[in-house]
Point group: C2
Chain length 155, copies 2
DNA sequence: AAAATATAGTTTCATATGTAACTAATTTGA
DNA sequence: TCAAATTAGTTACATATGAAACTATATTTT
């Protein structure tokens, strides 16, 4: 069968990977504006900050695992946060290669400012869905995540 | 209330923008391997190819609208595809600023090789979901897209 | 207890990407 | 009808990113 547009059979606008990517980027960009414009943080710095707030003393490697960032990205985000005075590196007593990372007082301060903004933007987004739909979406995403990355947990 | 990890109230792993981003990247990367490793195409080049196959004679600007790529990205992807011999630029008769873009024979050839691979990978992914769940996912994503970008259609 | 191997994290270098400035053609509107 | 504004697309520049090499420490193997 010769190729014609009619039998292309792949319309980008119905192709799941494309739709997911565009949707995800639209949402991420919207949220990224919150902490970029207001606080000068990159999305990576924000992620590092979030997991460090959640687990004070965490190592760079652990941060990478929880945020799905590679170690170079973590290293750079951490360096930036330290330079901005939001993060502190404490040498680990039991392993001199690691550091224990903690937010500084200033870091906690802006973290606490960002959290409600981020959560309310998330709430605004998902308010387009009913509670049941939100739960369903989470469930479907988890199933997809399993299919997309059987080898490792995504979240 | 002083800050403690307990009242952080934002766990990245349950934060929708983060989950979507990680899921989308995992899926995109998996698919990107198909056309990168086998055919040396970037994700942007693949998108340009897909919409051009679907709409021969399309302009760069239209490609940008359909793929959500900015004009610089389109320009670069087009330049790459032309250099590889997969795309041809035809001057538009009615507007000398535009070109009409079409896949070359070689371009159609590899496009037709990629489509079934991409579709079968998509099928593999969504086979984790029932038909009903697939439909539901599409519906929920469309709702989210509306909330995330009320000003423009994402797909 | 060395020597070999592995791990934590950083630096380097090459490439990708986004913003702004630019060129050329077209449209608007006084 | 011609000057101003818009649009299509490219180029230049500055920044972001990823892969590989590297440093320093820890662990494993013999």
């Amino acid at each position: 069968m010769p190729y014609t547009p009619e039998n292309a059979a792949l319309r980008l606008s119905t192709f799941l990977p494309f739709r997911l990517s565009v949707l995800s980027n639209a949402i991420s960009q919207r949220i990224a504006e919150l902490y970029d414009r207001e606080f000068g943080l990159s999305i990576w710095q924000w992620r590092v900050m979030a997991v460090t707030a959640d687990s004070p003393g965490i190592s760079a490697t652990e941060i990478g695992q929880r945020t799905q960032m590679d170690k170079v990205a973590v290293s750079r985000a951490v360096a930036g946060l330290i330079e901005m005075g939001y993060l502190e590196r404490r040498p680990s007593t039991d392993d001199a290669r690691r550091s224990n990372l903690v937010l500084t007082k200033a870091g906690m301060g802006i973290y606490e400012l960002i959290v409600p903004l981020a959560l309310s933007e998330e709430a605004r987004l998902v308010s387009a869905l009913s509670d049941k739909e939100q739960a369903e979406l989470g469930r479907l995403m988890a199933k997809l995540a399993g299919a997309a990355s059987p080898e490792r947990d995504l979240w």
